[in-house]
């Protein structure tokens, strides 16, 4: 028995089933991301004046990732157009580029995450703050009663801030502003050098993971969820491009519709990034 309306539109909706289904799904996705964007706005307007960090993300890397996603959207739609023109070989090439772009995006995002997870802020017992990237952890690391032991010392490449900044209560503000110079944002360039810090001298050691501050928590939540969507979209498109391509021989119109539906999802994912990039990297 044939499944109805896989190719032709229903008279009541004017859409074939899969297109109606994807738009309903995208409506739920709008609510999901809408809630997160609303959370971001509330967290940001609720922060103390001047306390919201700026410039701790790398704008050129974010721009490259944005370009990669825009390119992937172009290739996905041109691939669909190629199928509409009955040119399967061209579709295959264009969709392969889309899948490569999606993998590039995930790789670049992973690099950005790695950069944050190896970026440490160390508060010393005398109040000084050393902020920089981890070079090495010396000693320690062994498991004792199921607990991993601290290293004896850590070596960072970064900058040092005087104790008065921490004592000022709003230490994060000037720190972030000075870091902006380091990461390609506004502000002046800060000279970096290597620091070897004994663990016994530290009061707090924390990397720039989601636990570091509210900004990074919402950054990792939103970009992590978005990256999962990119991976999911790439898997679906990869399946349609590879094993699922047999359908082209038996039912080309239905296959073209599948490509359109996956393309709609992909455009939604890319559109989310078009909004994520300026709010997280620029504003």
């Amino acid at each position: 028995m044939d499944i109805p309306y896989t190719v032709l539109p229903r008279r009541d909706t004017g859409l074939y089933n899969a297109k109606l289904g994807i738009w309903l799904f995208l409506a739920s996705e709008v609510m999901l991301f809408g809630a997160l964007f609303s959370s971001y706005i509330l967290l940001r307007v609720g922060a103390y004046p001047g306390a919201w960090p700026h410039g701790i993300l790398n704008v050129p890397i974010g721009t490259v990732n944005t370009m990669v996603l825009i390119c992937s959207s172009v290739t996905v739609v041109l691939g669909w157009a190629a199928l509409k023109a009955n040119n399967f070989a061209r579709y295959r090439k264009l969709q392969a580029i889309t899948i490569v772009c999606s993998m590039m995006f995930v790789c670049i995002k992973s690099y950005e995450y790695y950069d944050k997870f190896t970026h440490y802020e160390v508060v010393l017992k005398d109040g000084r703050v050393i902020d920089g990237h981890l070079i090495e952890k010396v000693g320690g690391g062994q498991m004792v009663n199921g607990v991993r032991q601290h290293p004896e010392s850590i070596i960072l490449h970064g900058v040092e801030f005087p104790a008065e900044m921490k004592a000022a209560g709003m230490a994060k503000v000037p720190l972030m502003e000075r870091l902006a110079g380091e990461h390609g944002g506004h502000g002046s360039h800060v000279e970096h050098k290597e620091y070897t810090i004994a663990w016994s001298d530290t009061a707090r050691v924390q990397n720039y993971g989601p636990w570091h501050n509210t900004y990074l928590a919402i950054y990792f939540t939103m970009t992590g969820l978005h990256a999962l969507h990119v991976i999911g979209g790439a898997l679906v498109m990869g399946w349609i491009w590879g094993p699922g391509a047999k359908l082209w021989k038996t039912d080309p119109e239905r296959y073209t519709n599948r490509v359109e539906v996956s393309g709609l999802f992909w455009h939604f994912v890319d559109l989310v990034w078009i909004f994520l990039f300026p709010i997280l990297y620029l504003l």
Binding site: T63, M67, S73, V77, F268, I274, L282
Partner: protein, 68 residues
């Protein structure tokens, strides 16, 4: 809404982002005087022009496909 219509919305959004990024980078350059900011700003503005050109090409190429 078809993929064609969604793509038009997407390219319009990408154009707006690219123009905004260009302006943002040039504003940064006016404060920092860093060549990187200037290059990224000019590249973004060039990208926004490129997106307009591509948009026109796209509409011409897919004129036989409807928006729904």
């Amino acid at each position: 809404m078809s993929l064609k219509a969604f793509h038009v919305i997407f390219i319009t959004s990408a154009f707006l982002l690219s123009a905004f990024l260009g302006g943002w980078c040039l504003l940064e350059f006016s404060n920092s005087r860093r060549v990187g900011d200037l290059l990224l700003g000019l590249l973004s503005l060039a990208g926004s022009v490129g997106l307009v050109v591509y948009g026109r090409y796209f509409l011409k190429k897919l004129k036989n496909i409807d928006y729904f």
